[in-house]
Amino acid sequence: MNPPHHPKIRVRYAKYGKVRFTSHRDMARVWERNLRKIGFPVAYSEGFSPRPKLSFGLALPTGAESDGEYFDITADPDWDTADLDELPMQLNAVVPSGISVQAVAILPPGSESLQSVVTSSTWAIELFDIEPVQAMAWVSRVLDAEELVVTRERKGKPVTDDLRPEIRSLEATEFAFGGPGLVAELSTVGRALRPSELLMVIEPHLHGGLIRRRQQWISVDGARSEPLAVGAAVDHRTPVGVR
């Protein structure tokens, strides 16, 4: 007899406003509780201290907003996949203000985890009190650099790396509210690069304003796609805190 099949569901959600100050760990617990609230049959791990089987993508820095975050649910074998369409509405009725589920999909068997497939993220970074010319000069300097060697902390230890290869694209831009900013696609594989580290490379004392993850990308042979595009199962509730 085959072991029972546990369907896996990928959830895409946006995170805006006050809740952006919750951490990756906080959000994991929010999803655990809210799936229990709607009575979704999440599969549990075996062992001394069983935990619901949820697996999360790359951590969003605390304080950053996002147009697209993801996590995967492993469901009980007896879950009826026909209930999938209801899931975004059910979750959106209970999640904190500022969080909205945008899409859900059942993953094909054998799909790899978010952590292993996502290769880069596109970030929008607001800059405070910076002239647009200055921002453009920084962009040229970074893009023209052969290497950008920086010592940063990784797992509590100082590590010296060349960050230039991790910057896939960078441009200066003007945001809707008229402030200058940067849009950057940064690698998430290998050493990876955080938006705060990019700012550190540009100017050691530069504080960013609002940071928002716009997309997460899976690159395969030069073709880019999102782990789950906003498609049919979108919830149309207006996200709170959208600027």
Binding site: K18, V19, R36, G63, V94, H207
Partner: protein, 652 residues
């Protein structure tokens, strides 16, 4: 008033754990602000993580927001990093619900659960933008209020707080709102505030310190007298007669970030008559008022469904004594709605009622931590404190837990108790060692964490007359115990800093003169004194010396029976004679049974209020000696005639 969020948002990117300042909890229900409504800012004077779960604060939050004439929001002490940013940016204390400045409220009401938060109270009053001393406040300033267990001795904070609430808050909070609504409706002319405070002082359970004059005879208090004839001589605590009428919180707040006690909490009863003589909570919250077990089950099941928590704690001062404990635990664990995923935790568990049956039910889902509190290391010492747990009961409970798969547990003890000898102190190590040995029969990695606290005598307990052990003596005992514990593998010991115990002792039984010390410690930056990284022993010692006050006199001195104690104008319903007799009996090593199941000895808590225990079962829960001391076969040499009371077992 406008939300401070836009300004605050910029600061939050620069501080640790910003999620504790955003509010957004599941369960938030704030009514609209309006000019005619009394606006309460309910404040816990410690971090959000410690304060958010506080049930008292959440109960009042709901009751006030349900009223048509009130609105309540919450605030917590910002950590030192945000406080520095706020002071630089000139941002005041804010609510986490709507991020309104403190000035948008009428009352800044503190929950006082521990003495070491007192300097934070002053800091928060200051952050709210009001003069720290009540006497300096003007007609339009916020009112500063305080409730919670510490208010049974309100005197150390008397100079800073406009009014205190003594006892259960459920009803009195509405009585106060009535007075404040009237006051808000009248013009804020000169004298209106004093008039309103005088009206408040006439509300039962409300203490307005400015309405009382304290006179001294040298170091001693000569008299505490009301300033006006219409002010009561004694302020008696409020007691809610029937918990079934108050099924609060109905919508427990679920925070987005991790806090202590991060689970559903359902209060199963209030009050405790076990009669442990060191325990202030057990003395001041009498009588026992159980919640009907059907109501508990409903609150548990609705609460789990609404919050999405997978753990529920049944809270009280001694949950195993709850008449419906078996059915509630089994009902919750086995409810098909919970899919075997909900665990039940029982904080404050008496060892004598923890049986294999209870252990087996508890471990069906995840095993929660287990803490037992024998409190003292020898039977003699446990008779002195009237915690009549036999050694075999502890071992039976520990064995129940280890046999059901637990691998470690926590044991809680006090040191520095009246008449404690080194034999008693070292008995703690012996008990712990024996527990580990029991555990090793079931699991090679069995271990016990021993947690030791220095005893601080509290008002309205039989030990209120006892001189606290000196810091040096407590340190000696703790290090002696540590050295003994080191000899046995599998026992880890943690202890409360005896220096912090001293500071607690200053505030616990201090009088109004101690206010100067608290203010001085705060002015020199001594906030978050509950946190070891911020606690400053030197600051307390220096500030006591500079105020010309003696630590020996305030903390280490035994009190005489006829001394006017700083809280003598407050009443917890307990007769002076009862407390004094208990103190005598303690020194005579004579126990006292639990009056829930035995005849009344008239402590005053029921008779004075015309209310009674509400207990569903007329018999004590089965198993063990139940600490009632009713198993007289244990001791032969019981001095039956002594003091005309029902004495209980001598050493087994």
């Amino acid at each position: 008033m406008n939300s401070l969020w836009p300004e605050l948002e910029h600061l939050l990117g620069r501080v640790q754990k910003p999620a504790r300042y955003i509010g957004c909890e599941d369960g938030i229900k704030v009514s609209e602000h309006a000019p005619h409504k009394v606006a309460w800012l309910l404040t816990y004077p410690d971090t959000y993580e410690i304060g958010l779960p506080n049930q008292g604060l959440q109960i009042l939050y709901e009751i006030l927001n349900e009223r048509d004439d009130a609105v309540a929001e919450r605030s917590y002490a910002p950590w030192t990093d945000l406080e520095a940013e706020m002071r630089t940016a000139r941002l005041p204390l804010f609510s986490v619900d709507n991020h309104l400045p403190a000035a948008a409220f009428d009352v800044l009401a503190f929950n006082l659960s521990a003495e070491l938060v007192y300097t934070n109270v002053l800091n928060l009053i200051d952050l709210a933008g009001v003069p720290v001393r009540a006497a300096d406040r003007g007609e339009t300033d916020l009112l500063v209020a305080a409730g919670g267990h510490c208010t049974y001795n309100p005197e150390p904070l008397a100079d800073f707080v406009d009014f205190f609430v003594i006892g259960d808050g459920e009803e009195v909070v509405s009585d106060i709102t009535d007075v404040l609504r009237e006051w808000k409706a009248t013009p804020r002319s000169s004298g209106a505030r004093v008039g309103m405070l005088r009206d408040l002082a006439k509300v039962p359970g409300v203490y307005v310190p400015a309405m009382y004059e304290v006179s001294y005879d040298g170091e001693h208090i000569a008299e505490i007298a009301p300033r006006y004839p219409d002010i009561p001589e004694r302020v008696a605590k409020r007691t809610v007669a029937d918990l079934a009428e108050w099924p609060y919180p109905k919508n427990q707040l679920v925070p987005l970030t991790e806090v202590v006690h991060d689970r559903l909490n359902v209060e199963v009863f209030r009050g405790c008559t076990r009669g442990c003589r060191f325990c202030q909570a057990g003395m001041i919250t009498r009588p026992v008022r159980e919640r009907p077990s059907e109501q508990v089950r409903t609150m548990v099941q609705n609460g789990l469904q609404r919050t999405g928590y997978d753990e529920v704690a049944l809270t009280s001062l001694s949950t195993a004594d709850f008449s419906g404990i078996g059915e509630v635990v089994a009902g919750t664990v086995n409810d098909p709605m919970n899919c075997g995923q909900v665990s039940v935790s029982l904080p404050s568990l008496r060892v004598d009622a923890f049986t294999v049956g209870v252990a087996a039910q508890l471990q069906k889902a995840r095993r929660t931590g287990l803490t037992f509190a024998p409190e003292a290391g020898t039977w003699r010492m446990r008779q002195v404190i009237n915690k009549l747990i036999a050694e075999e009961d502890l071992y039976r409970a520990v064995e129940s837990a280890f046999s059901q798969g637990w691998r470690r547990m926590k044991l809680y003890f006090l040191t520095g108790l009246p008449s404690e000898t080194d034999i008693d102190t070292l008995g703690i190590a012996e008990l712990s060692k024996n527990c580990v040995e029991i555990g090793k029969r079931y699991n090679k990695t069995a271990s016990v964490t021993l947690s030791v606290g220095g005893f601080v005598p509290k008002p309205f307990t039989p030990f209120q007359w006892f001189g606290q052990n000196t810091e040096a003596e407590l340190s000696r005992k703790i290090y002696m115990l540590r050295d003994e514990v080191k000899k046995s593998r599998g026992v880890q010991m943690k202890w409360h800093d005896p220096k912090a115990t001293l500071a607690e002792g200053i505030a616990s039984r201090g009088d109004r003169r101690i206010g100067r010390v608290i203010e001085a410690v705060w002015r020199r930056g001594g906030t978050f004194q509950e946190w070891s990284e911020h606690f400053s022993y030197d600051l307390w010692v220096e500030c006591m010396a500079e105020a010309g006050l003696s630590i020996d006199w305030y903390v280490y001195r035994h009190r005489r029976e006829d001394e006017i104690l700083p809280w003598s104008h407050i009443s917890a319903g307990l007769h002076h004679e009862f407390l004094w007799q208990e103190w005598q009996d303690a020194l005579a090593e004579v126990g006292l049974p639990d009056c829930r199941w035995t005849p009344c000895y008239d402590c005053g808590a029921c008779t004075g209020y015309g209310i009674e225990h509400i207990v569903a079962s007329a018999t004590p829960p089965a198993g063990g000696s139940q600490g009632t001391g009713q198993d007289l076969s244990r001791g032969g040499a019981v001095p039956v005639e002594l003091l005309g009371r029902k004495p209980v077992g001598a050493a087994p």
